[in-house]
Subunit: 457 residues, 2 copies
């Protein structure tokens, strides 16, 4: 089959459009090129990771991140920059350690899971029961792990679309509760990670579990190797975390008000909070940077509608999307589209548009503009939206999702390795270019995703 060169397709599409749409396409294409050469996205994530670093909800650094967000949005020329405060539960890491006591004394590298109970002071020492898969662990009857530390060493699968994470996520979120049901006194998992470094990966668990932590992948394999020798292996686990239900937290907001229809709003962003071990570069400094840079660039063309950037303040432990949704419920009807960038800084590799919208002049202009950016436009590409806009979506807001290549994301996610050097500036700029073209074509048109498609109610 002969494949038409892309340029020919683009020209063909362009020529079929009416003059106003041609103008929109031309402006969106010029914006794309500007975004590819622009360093705003990189500068934002460099600034956040260098000047604030790790910023878990409930920490002093979260306040610094809030102040950083306000200052950054103002410096970039956003209007109506403000903070929306809320309270939310916050789990905070304390001193942690784990070691094999016998028969082969060795230090283990762990990170406690969010919402995990602390151990008694001085830690707890118990024999381990090792399971190679989460299903094997779940097959154990109630009470059968009494007095033991359950260890699950199943490996996460590397995927481009990130589905390997969803497939194994319950091992972390629900595992501590399941371990408690079976009588275990502690719970250790192989990090939900595709890397082979000795850095564990943090993350939240559901409430109600026992002391629980993630092992680095080499440490999980070490316990596999030890237990294969057939002797009982004893581990000491010590965790001194704290948990409170009313931590202060903030969503940071800035706008570029629309030229003609300022009450019609596009709501996009990333989350400002991060887990504590890294500097929150890919999760989610990148998302904050992409949304901020794209809105600034699109806003520079003074579109009809309002572009609003939200830096959500508690995604990792939950709360910021709920708070934002509750505060803005009355406004949902005026939200043209919502979306959160929160799968790192890898290039956008595929996307699907809200159902029925691909044939609109705005989306034709968008798709033409992003042609050179190597994005597969595929009606079956999944759409999620993002944790912080789930509430808005449930309330009826149309949403968009641009799928980033997550092949390497879970090497770094929630680990100390989530640092600025892992971001490829060119891939980051490709994200900014896609988002900028989208924001501009939507904001400078009158597209109504609710009308365009059956999906958007």
């Amino acid at each position: 089959m002969r494949i038409l060169p892309f340029a020919a397709l683009a020209v063909a599409t362009l020529m079929a459009l009416p003059a106003a749409a041609q103008d929109l396409t031309a402006r969106a294409s010029a914006l794309r090129d500007k975004a590819l050469a622009d360093t705003t996205g990189w500068d934002v994530v460099d600034s956040l990771t260098t000047e604030v670093g790790a910023r878990p909800v409930g920490s002093p650094a979260a306040q610094r991140a809030r102040d950083w967000g306000v200052a950054k949005l103002k410096a970039l020329g956003f209007e109506n920059v403000h903070v929306e405060a809320f309270t939310t539960p916050a789990w905070s890491r304390g001193a942690e350690s784990a070691e094999v006591v016998g028969p082969f004394p060795q230090t283990l590298h762990i990170l406690g899971l969010g919402r995990s109970s602390p151990t008694p002071a001085g830690g707890l020492t118990a024999p381990i029961a090792v399971f190679h898969t989460y299903r094997e662990f779940l097959a154990q009857p109630a009470g059968s792990l009494a007095g033991k530390i359950a260890v699950v060493t199943e490996k996460m699968i590397r995927t481009q679309d990130g589905s390997g994470y969803g497939a194994i996520n319950a091992m972390r979120t629900q595992g501590p509760v399941e371990a408690a049901k079976r009588g275990a006194v502690g719970y250790l998992i192989r990090s939900l990670s595709t890397d082979d470094t000795r850095l564990p990966h943090a993350g939240s668990a559901n409430a109600g579990g026992i002391p629980a932590a993630a092992l680095s992948t080499p440490d999980a394999e070490l316990l596999d190797h030890m237990s294969a020798r057939g002797q009982p292996v004893t581990v000491r686990l010590a965790m001194a975390s704290t948990y409170r239900t009313d931590a202060a937290a903030w969503n940071v907001v800035g706008e570029i008000r629309g030229r003609e229809a300022p009450d019609e709003v596009l709501v996009v962003g990333g989350h400002l909070d991060s887990w504590d071990p890294g500097t929150g570069a890919i999760d989610d400094g990148a998302g904050v940077a992409i949304a901020t840079a794209a809105a600034k660039l699109a806003g520079g063309l003074h579109p009809r509608r309002t572009l609003r950037v939200v830096m959500w303040g508690s995604e990792e432990q939950g709360g910021s999307g709920e708070a934002y949704g509750a505060a803005h419920k009355a406004e949902v009807g005026k939200m043209v589209v919502v979306g959160e960038s929160d799968l790192g800084a890898g290039r956008i590799w595929n996307l699907s548009l809200p159902k029925g919208s691909a044939g609109t002049p705005a989306m034709k202009a968008f798709l033409t503009a992003i042609g050179p950016l190597k994005v597969i436009v595929n009606a079956t590409a999944p759409r999620f939206g993002g944790s912080d806009v789930e509430g808005l979506i449930a309330a009826g807001a149309p949403f968009v999702d641009f799928n980033q290549d997550a092949s390497r994301y879970f090497d770094l996610h929630h680990a100390a390795d989530d640092t600025l050097d892992k971001i490829d500036p060119a891939e980051l700029a490709q994200n900014v270019a896609v988002w900028a073209a989208f924001l501009y074509t939507v904001a400078d048109s009158d597209i109504d995703f609710r009308k365009a498609g059956a999906e958007a109610k």
Copy 2:
């Protein structure tokens, strides 16, 4: 130019050899195939890293490693298994921490350098002076860094032959002394590493320096980014190391005695000690495993001469080679050849033989046998021998060195990431096969490297 297929070359070489040499070649080739399929090497390094783990000189784990070595050599059927005790200086890590105090408070990931002085209790806090290259740092005049923590962030270069390490090594070994000369109160370097993980890489410095530590590579880049903002950056460094001059240490020895000439000895090994953060898999569990497995396999054919495996007990901080050399000085004249495997577990990619020896029947048999193992035999390939046999070499022992592919070695070297999962069993087996073929062709022949070449005196 037409390249002769290797098989044709090998057959041509084989056909030109007399019958006895043909037998040696055939036996060495069969040994090669056996070694490629044999798991002894893997089992040894699995056992050492799982059952002992990190084993720095002067630690309780070093004693466990000694006992492990004796038991392992006995279990594998070695004769004359014994321990040769010596005393040596030992630096031991204590609690360590580092953080940026201001203007951007962040935790730094460090590992103190061996022989580093401890800080005062509670640590020291000082502004940093960042240099992007070691030469730039050395260009600072005496006293010019008074009251500062000097930070050198030069990057190590990745190379196949490991030369990138030698090129930058002085930054770690000599830097703390040079920093002291310039008045600095602390010294931080970017880890001598080619990785991008947030795990620092340990290693020794020369005595006489100030408190000194290695930053992970992302942390070194973080300080680069902070200092680029033009404000003074203040760091707190706390290290509570201890140092003593008379730690007990041990070289562990086993032999397979020669059939006809037991007093003619081949001395090969790896070092049993490791740095503390990893489990000492590639440095140097792999070397111990390669030498042990190769000697066992070659010894299984009952060669003429004695094969001796030495697990040297203090390579990282020095002492074991010196002790072994001093104890065996009188025996050097009877040492047929010596060598240490100590550049990880990557495949052997090139080698040169002692000068003048390539034309001997033994070395012809060796080279023919390793033909399928994809080793470049190159008279200009460098030969080092190994830290623990330097003394023997200086005293006149002929030596051999098989160069391992070090492309990935310095991602892992001296870091917590030095764990078993980083070893490719097939690459490890290739090492064992090369060594086994060499040990056998030398031990079952009467080759005299002193006569064969001008180089071996």
